[in-house]
Amino acid sequence: MQDFEYQKPKTVTEAGDAFNAQSDGSFLAGGQTLIPVLKQGLAMPSGLIDLAGIEDLQGITATESTLTVGAMTTHARVAASPEVQKAIPALAGLAGGIGDPQVRNRGTLGGSLANNDPSADYPAAVLALSAVVVTDKRRIPADGFFTGMFETALDEGELITDVEFPVAERAAYAKFPNPASRYAVAGVFVARVDGAVRVAVTGAGPGVFRAAEMEAALDKDFQADALEGIAVSEADLIADIHASAGYRAHLIGVMAGRAVDAANANVGAA
């Protein structure tokens, strides 16, 4: 691990200034990816700007139509939040299923989105709920945010401050976890917001993506049965020792059906 400077600013502005002062700075959120990468010598930033001291990046607020989560809010806090559980229970459930307790107590929403690991859970929620990623410079709709494997629309030094999630009529997330890492082998977030259905798939492809055929079928009939016969092409899916592309394609169908069932059950329960 190479030596680096360490700074812990108190405001978003200070964080931006600190970043700009570095030749090769890096923001540190929960550190669940960055710290291991540093230890392996795969990243060698000149300075780390720790965002943990910025109060403006913390917290959860809800209105009737929108749930806003600060970028530095941990997964554990989202999972346990009464506001999230009431507004979008599927989001609380997703956060509670990320990694393990240690990861959930350190990892953050903003860190997960900025990293955009193709197997991470949060991108599926952001894309399916058509959330808006708010940064220190602009507002980025979910459809334009995830641009590829570990790639996002964020500019150099641009900092996520909040994510605004529309409160869905129905939503649920179903994931088949990797037995070792507990990342998604295939995770499907299904949401109906303002009458429109969106289905986002994570873990199975090179990045989170929407399943258009499933969305069309569920638009007509929001029941798991409506997905029968919709085959997901394995052509663009990833394969590794844990799951072949064909198995992932199959799991997407199973998880989508289970997510729809859960979304309908959630409404019943409420």
């Binding site: 393990d100 088949f176 070792a180 890492s181 020792i241 844990h242 072949s244 198995y247």
Partner: protein
């Protein structure tokens, strides 16, 4: 101050220290002025080393030393030989053993093989210096599959070992088995794989070494399971010095499971560097390096054949195993796929004849050595899988076929075709008790509910029989202090399993002294003249019996002093409940008082000195003992995804006398968890070029607490063995021995309506899902014949 008894669930006295961060592990040991060592490891599975240029590293500020294989050979150091007891091929010739030096000499044979040692002022400097060593490799073809390595055109690892074959071993009655097969109504054959895993102890390996030029002696702190045997290898085989020249100490060790049994290259390299530099040297493996450089276990492919009568009576068992050794013979590497897997073939069943053939094969991976069970889990898996498979093929009830063939107690003692002397036990009783605890009949309603939810319920029962192992002698020393403490030094070793409690409990109970007064010591070659360390479930069997024997000697010595104190004759005294009593006068004196008197010149007779009660005792085992028992597992399987959930787990064990049931429970639970891990998620995977794919915990699936069910554990104590005075049979590995077949057979039971009869482990969700898709299409002879 507490009185304890044998069989009492005394809570672990070491846990407060461990849980509050006051354990003293290898990385907690720092010697003044120490430098740090890091190993440069091969990035090729098979390559010639054309040249090593370390000048860049040596020019770096803070780098103190670089050692290469050429330097090592130039010093005249010897290789680390295998110490396996199994050394003969079927034709009587010796096994083929290549030299295993501490650094690669001219050629690397696995990814992770040590190529050079770098020593620097700090660990980060040493790690940075690795990048500045220029190794000129010429890549060679690699083979990473043991069956493929036997093929005529396979890449050859060793010029003088043709066909990559280390040993071709056999045991049992070959002709008798052939005859039985010819006469049997049914012969059932199944090829199966026992996958490659590694132990992943929570504490990685590491060591700290120093050299004292005045006395010409070395001091080595090492995270190991076996200080005496490894010291002997380092002194006698590597350095060619008297073994007394090395003091070898293991501090607290965070898990071993066999992976820390081996003599590894790093400790001798560290000692050499310490002498060369004139300052202590420390080396700590990280987790990624551990996956590459720790020994791995299992990794066998077997053809198993069972001959039965029409009514399901077993006639014969034959197993032909090809075991992977890695590129070298590690400390007892060739033992596991040969004698280790042969001895307990057939388990607790009444087989008239058995035969086992085992070949150990060199391939381009790191070395294999024991992993919890070292052959007995493999043997049990082979036996229980072929029985389950045969039951399915022949339409027999898997419970009934087992019940019918279990060896009856009146048949004991019995010597099996494998030469195993089964002295005692009641296998039918243990089997029926397990069934009663699990009560599979009560699951019908739950199974229906599970099916309604789209999943399937499965249940299986797996009797097992194993044997202990490890060094046949053990030492226990007892020394009393004037302050009332009792120092107990034992040559067996705890790597976390709780000997600090159980050995102290045993001594305290035997002497009738307060438990808290016993100070336990282990794993220091200066503290005990011999020591067999940890391995083969030998702790209580060897160490425990040594402690009991030493306690007997103390009582003998103390009775003389007690007689003096009571003005009696020693012959008139009885020792019971911690007191000596004169049967005539009724006068008595406690052991605690006798110990106090032994330090009181007023009360000591003229011919005795303080310390007169101290003793050192060596216990020698006559025969290995035979732990046995029965496991049962209930699972649910989701045929749509292949996901498996364990619903329940039941164990009845016959470990003979139980010293501390709480600690025995811990051994069983840990072993079962490791078995569940191997069966469901753990798997070491190499690609065709020999690169390790599962090099981190992101890909190597250790079991987690939420995947391991609550367990019901009971002990059958009706058959203590007479093979040792305590009547103990060994508890450390049994959990791992019974759990592989119990879980696999339960999963296959859940899938029976889909026609699935066999899936090789690990039962990954994809393999399970595909087996359901394939409706049981399976080639029972696909692994060996088809591949060779």
């Amino acid at each position: 101050m507490t009185d304890v008894t044998i069989g009492q669930p005394v809570r672990r006295s070491e846990d407060e220290r461990f849980l509050t961060g006051r354990g003293r592990y290898i990385d907690d040991i720092n010697l003044e002025g120490q430098a740090r060592a890091v190993v440069l490891r091969s990035v090729y599975a098979h390559a010639c080393i054309k040249n090593i240029d370390a000048s860049g590293a040596l020019a770096m500020e803070g780098v103190l030393l670089v050692v290469t294989g050429e330097d090592w050979i130039a010093e005249g150091f010897g290789p680390m030989p295998t110490k396996t007891a199994i050394r003969k091929n079927r034709d009587g010739s010796e096994l083929s053993e290549p030299p295993r030096h501490c650094l690669a000499i001219g050629r690397v044979r696995y990814v992770g093989e040590p190529v050079a040692l770098v020593v620097a002022e700090t660990d980060p400097i040493a790690r940075d210096a690795l990048d500045l060593i220029d190794v000129d490799y010429e890549s060679l073809d690699a083979v990473t599959d043991a069956v493929e390595a036997l093929a005529p055109d396979a890449p050859q690892l060793w010029d003088d070992i043709p066909g990559n074959l280390c040993i071709d071993f056999e045991l049992g009655d070959r002709e008798g088995v052939e005859k039985a097969f010819a006469e049997a109504d049914h012969v059932i054959t199944l090829d199966l794989e026992n996958n490659r895993v590694t132990a992943v102890p929570i504490e990685p390996r590491g060591c700290v070494g120093s050299y004292d030029p005045e006395t010409d002696t070395y001091l080595l702190y090492n995270s190991t399971q076996n200080v005496h045997a490894i010291r002997d290898t380092l002194a006698e085989n590597v350095f060619g010095i008297d073994k007394e020249k090395i003091r070898h100490i293991a501090p607290d060790v965070g898990g071993g499971f066999g992976v820390k049994n081996s003599a590894y290259p790093e400790p001798p390299l560290v000692l050499y560097a310490a002498k060369k530099l004139g300052r202590p040297v420390k080396w700590i493996n990280n987790r990624s390096e551990s996956f590459l450089s720790d020994t791995h276990g299992r990794d066998q492919i077997s053809k198993v054949e069972l001959a039965l009568d029409g009514d399901g009576t077993f006639r014969a068992l034959r197993t032909d195993t090809i075991g992977n050794l890695g590129a070298y013979c590690a400390t007892i590497g060739p033992f596991t796929p040969t004698g280790g897997s042969a001895r307990t073939q057939g388990g607790p069943y009444d087989f008239p004849v058995m035969y086992y053939r085992g070949r150990a094969v060199f391939i381009n991976t790191g070395p294999m050595d024991p992993y919890r069970g070292a052959g007995r889990p493999e043997a049990t898996f082979q036996t229980e899988r072929i029985i389950e498979y045969a039951a399915r093929q022949l339409g027999l009830d898997p419970i009934e076929i087992r019940r019918k063939n279990l060896m009856r107690p009146e048949k004991l003692p019995h010597k099996t075709s494998m030469g195993l002397n089964i002295d005692c036990g009641d296998f039918p009783k243990v089997f029926e008790r397990t069934l009663k605890l699990a009560d599979p009949g009560s699951f019908a309603e739950r199974a229906e509910q599970i099916k309604t939810a789209g999943r399937r319920f499965g249940f299986a029962i797996a009797p097992y029989l194993e044997c202990t192992g490890g060094g046949p002698k053990e030492f226990a020393g007892v020394a009393f202090g004037a302050d009332g403490t009792v120092s107990l030094s034992v040559g067996s070793q705890s790597t976390g399993m709780g000997h600090e409690t159980s050995m102290a409990q045993l001594l305290a109970a035997r002497l009738g002294i307060p438990f808290e007064r016993v100070e336990y010591h282990q794993a220091d070659t200066d503290k005990t003249p011999i020591g067999g360390g940890h391995g083969g479930s030998r702790g209580m069997e060897l160490g425990g019996n040594a402690v009991a024997q030493a306690a007997g000697e103390v009582i003998e010595k103390a009775s003389g002093l007690a007689a003096h104190l009571l003005q009696s004759k020693a012959a008139d005294l009885t020792f019971e409940g911690g007191s000596f009593k004169d049967s005539g006068s009724g006068a008595s004196v406690s052991m605690v008082e006798v110990i106090e008197a032994s330090f009181d010149s007023e009360r000591l007779p003229d011919d005795l000195e303080p310390g007169c009660l101290d003793t050192g005792s060596t216990f020698e085992r006559g025969e290995i003992s035979i732990p046995n028992g029965c496991h049962a597992a209930a699972v649910e399987v989701d045929p749509k995804t292949g996901a498996i959930l364990l619903l329940g787990y039941w164990v009845v064990d016959d470990f003979g006398t139980i010293i501390n049931p709480l600690l025995a429970d811990g051994q069983v639970m840990g072993g079962v968890a490791q078995g569940i891990g191997q069966v469901l998620t753990e798997n070491i995977v190499f690609d065709d070029s020999g690169q390790l794919i599962t090099g981190s915990l992101m890909d190597y699936g250790l079991p987690r607490a939420d995947g391991v069910p609550d367990m019901v554990i009971e002990y059958y104590e009706g058959a203590p063995t007479k093979k040792n005075p305590l009547g103990v049979k060994g508890a450390g590995e049994a959990g791992c021995v019974g759990s592989l077949p119990a879980v696999v057979n339960a999963v296959l039971d859940a899938l029976k309506e889909f026609g699935v009869v066999h899936i090789d482990i690990p039962l990954t969700s994809e393999k399970v899902w595909r087996a359901v898709q394939d409706q049981g299409a399976h080639d029972p002879k696909g692994l060996i014949e088809g591949a060779l």
